[in-house]
């Protein structure tokens, strides 16, 4: 309260009649914000506990999200291997290649199509038998078939879609033999669906637990300050006047908790997960684990702020004695 002493010494402005704390919405908003901040200063322990709880709860969710995002990204890369191969007994002329390529590309789902001539097929075969090249003595490239390798768009990599695509291209005249590793595709897609189901169940459970923990923590902190609510109601505070600083406080707590949790997640990622990428090989296509995309980070921070706000709102409903 040294401010008061300073105010007394300074030449004080004279007021004809009581003036309102601030003009219009801006003035009132500034008042509520300053009240919320001074509430935080006056209840440091309670606020530290609340922010700490929000931070830990959201850190658990964001760690889970990080793992899930990396698994999804790995699955995305693994699914690149879902490809359909069309074999031909003879070398195709450029005209035949062009005509077939156009017909195949016309079937929905094709993302990339590559012609593999006999020479390329033979080179690949040799590289697979590295160290046992003697087995290929006397073997000529002409014994191998030529082929089109067709990579599929992401939405066409499900088992049923692949089967649909294969039956569609089998109808193209000139195409006889088509292979796509049915068993691998089926197993891969089952694994992917199982992983997503576990992710949704676990994630859903975590979100429910986090909402429960955060809302109850806020409820307890507001319960501890119910005298304040009672006094405000007693001296004629409207519901909005009583609620506004508490709601802002909840918003600030949520925002602080979620921002700290994202910062901690980044520290954990930089300090451990990123450098541990050599043995945590989730994703064969990237150097190591990925960090959360920007929209996920923004979502987490906003979710924290929203949780703080809604937690306060529901608790206040119960405790304002007006």
């Amino acid at each position: 309260m040294n401010k008061w002493k300073k105010k007394q010494q300074a030449p004080t402005k004279t007021f004809k009649r009581p003036t309102l704390a601030g003009d219009g919405f801006g003035g009132r908003a500034r008042f509520f914000l300053s009240r919320a901040l001074s509430n935080i200063r006056q209840n440091v322990f309670v606020n530290v506990v609340t922010i700490g709880t929000i931070t830990l709860a959201l850190l658990i969710v964001s760690l889970f999200l990080l793992v899930f995002v990396n698994l999804e990204s790995a699955a995305e890369n693994w699914s690149e291997r879902v490809q359909v191969t069309v074999y031909f007994d003879k070398e195709l002329s450029p005209q035949e290649q062009g005509s077939l390529r156009t017909k195949i590309t016309a079937v929905p789902g094709v993302s990339r199509i590559t012609y593999v001539p006999r020479e390329v097929a033979f080179t690949r075969f040799k590289s697979r038998l590295r160290g046992q090249e003697t087995l290929l003595e006397g073997v000529r490239p002409e014994v191998l078939p030529t082929s089109f390798e067709i990579a599929l768009k992401r939405s066409y990599r499900e088992t049923a879609s692949v089967e649909g695509f294969v039956s569609a291209i089998k109808k193209i005249p000139g195409i006889a033999e088509v292979q796509y590793g049915e068993e691998w595709v089926r197993r891969f897609n089952s694994f992917l669906n199982f992983m997503r189901l576990i992710g949704v169940l676990l994630g859903g459970f975590m979100v429910v637990a986090v909402v429960f923990i955060i809302s109850n923590t806020i409820k307890l902190t507001i319960y501890a300050r119910r005298d304040e609510l009672e006094v405000m109601a007693l001296v004629g505070g409207t519901r909005f006047f009583i609620k506004a600083p508490f709601l802002l406080e909840g918003l600030i707590q949520g925002l602080a908790g979620s921002t700290i949790s994202v910062a901690l997640l980044f520290a954990i990622y930089e300090g451990f997960l990123h450098s541990a990428s050599s043995f945590v090989v989730f994703n064969p296509a990237s150097a190591g684990m990925l960090f959360l995309p920007v929209e996920y980070i923004a979502g987490l921070i906003l979710a924290g702020a929203l949780l703080g706000f809604l937690g306060s709102l529901t608790s206040l409903k119960r405790f304002i004695p007006v």
Binding site: T12, V231, V235
Partner: protein, 230 residues
Amino acid sequence: MIQLHNVSLAYQQGASALSNINLSIGKGDFVFLTGPSGAGKTSLLRLLYRALDPSRGQVLIDGQNITNIPAFQIPYLRRSIGVVFQDFKLLPNRTVFENVAITLEVLGWGRGDISKKTMHILKQMGIESKYDHMTQRLSGGEQQRVALARALVNDPKILLADEPTGNLDDANKNQILSIFKDANCRGTTVVVATHDRRLIEQSHMRLVTLIKGEIVEQMEKETTGSDQNL
């Protein structure tokens, strides 16, 4: 100023807290409500600032039936009523100044005006030197004066006090009584619920006695005999 017509109050369990109360308190009156514990003194006071709704009857403040006003108007009613309690109901983590200023903040006053008015009332209460103390560091008498300052800082029309001297020694009781009288002299209607006989006898003010939720006796100011037996 305050009128109660056939007011009854029943708890949810069916027990009656007040029954058929008829009471009229004029503008600028000073009234003591007395009676044993459980007589209904606190319930009657709570009806006056709409902390409770009567089961039956009308409660009029300044001619307006407050039992009918919608919930969003209750805060505006309370701004013209100051309330003090035996347990003071001060905010422990705020200073004396902040505890009193809250009444003016609610009204939307500016900081400069709040400072001036708050320091003025604290001076009247004799505690201006403790404006920056946390309330839990004050004595019981000082805490009650802070509570009174909070109740009186916006010059309410009515001051309600529920056992205001219950936790205080004689010297502090006298101080509190003189604050009530000063407020009354400035035109505030004062209603004090107490079972402190010494306080009542010392003040010679109008007395309303409640027993088991009924008014059993009313004695006018400066009179010695029973004025009305109900």
